[in-house]
């Protein structure tokens, strides 16, 4: 449950576990934005390997962070999304805005 935020080079890696809904969204949005500023990162990677559920509140957080880093010339990516999560993301069109990678390592290679 919950999420972990860490920095590698100029990438902020956000791992979200469990259910990414309204309840998690409110906290996650705030914490990620604080870290983007504090860590001075350029890109953001959402590691969704431990995610079991997402709805439009969770997707909204991802989209909002995508916009934020894009404004500063950075990029956003998704890694490890399980099939059911990927499906919801595809309906939302988020997959047309940012690339999906099978795992964290290959996403890092691309962003880094």
């Amino acid at each position: 449950m919950g999420y972990e935020i860490r920095k590698e080079g100029d990438i902020l890696i956000v791992r979200v576990n469990g259910e990414f809904d309204l309840h998690v969204a409110d906290y996650a949005r705030r914490d990620i934005d604080i870290q983007i500023r504090a860590q001075g990162v350029k890109h953001i990677l959402f590691d969704l390997g431990g995610l079991t559920f997402i709805d439009s509140s969770g997707l909204g957080v991802i989209l909002g962070r995508y916009r934020k880093v894009s404004e500063n010339g950075g990029r956003a990516a998704i890694s490890g999304a399980p099939p059911n999560i990927k499906k919801v993301m595809e309906i939302s069109g988020l997959n047309r805005l940012m690339p999906f990678f099978v795992d964290c390592a290959s996403a890092m290679l691309e962003l880094g």
């Binding site: 259910e19 809904d21 309204l22 559920f53 439009s56 509140s57 997707l59 059911n84 919801v88």
Partner: protein, 147 residues
């Protein structure tokens, strides 16, 4: 014929969105929905309940959200209700990306419509909103319900 029925009422605080999902999933567990159907029902419920909290009660955690579910031989019917601010223009609200909040996708109703066989909204400004979500049971011609 109604085979089973439940009603759930809870405060409009965001930790109860998970409660609503879990209760509906447990209620629907007697039906042979496949896993992906169940996932989709959970997303739809999550959207309707989140909307009641964010938009209906504008984030206040003291409102009451009512959810009822009933199971007939044909379908699972879920109703999510709030006594919040209501929707002035439902048709417009149901279009993708027309939400009021830049942090939201405006896809709540789009998800409900893609994942359920029927979505109906009753609303009155200043009174509240009622969203009915219907999912046909497996083998009950869910393709027909989409016509």
């Amino acid at each position: 014929m109604i085979r089973n029925q439940m009603r759930l009422e809870f405060l409009s605080c965001s930790e109860n969105v998970g409660l609503a999902r879990v209760a509906v999933a447990a209620f629907a567990s007697g039906v042979d929905f496949n896993l992906s159907d169940l996932e989709e029902i959970k997303v739809a419920v999550s959207e309707a309940v989140s909307n009641a909290m964010i938009h209906g009660y504008e984030g206040a955690t003291t409102g009451t959200v009512r959810l009822s579910a009933s199971l007939s031989d044909e379908a699972l019917e879920i109703v999510v209700e709030d006594d919040g601010k209501g929707i002035p223009d439902v048709e417009q609200a149901m279009l993708p990306g027309t939400g009021s909040d830049p942090e939201r996708l405006g896809l709540g109703f789009v998800f409900m419509k893609s994942f359920m066989d029927e979505v109906d909204v009753w609303t009155e400004v200043g009174k509240g909103t009622r969203v009915k979500l219907l999912k046909s049971l497996p083998g009950n011609g869910s393709h027909l319900a989409n016509l």
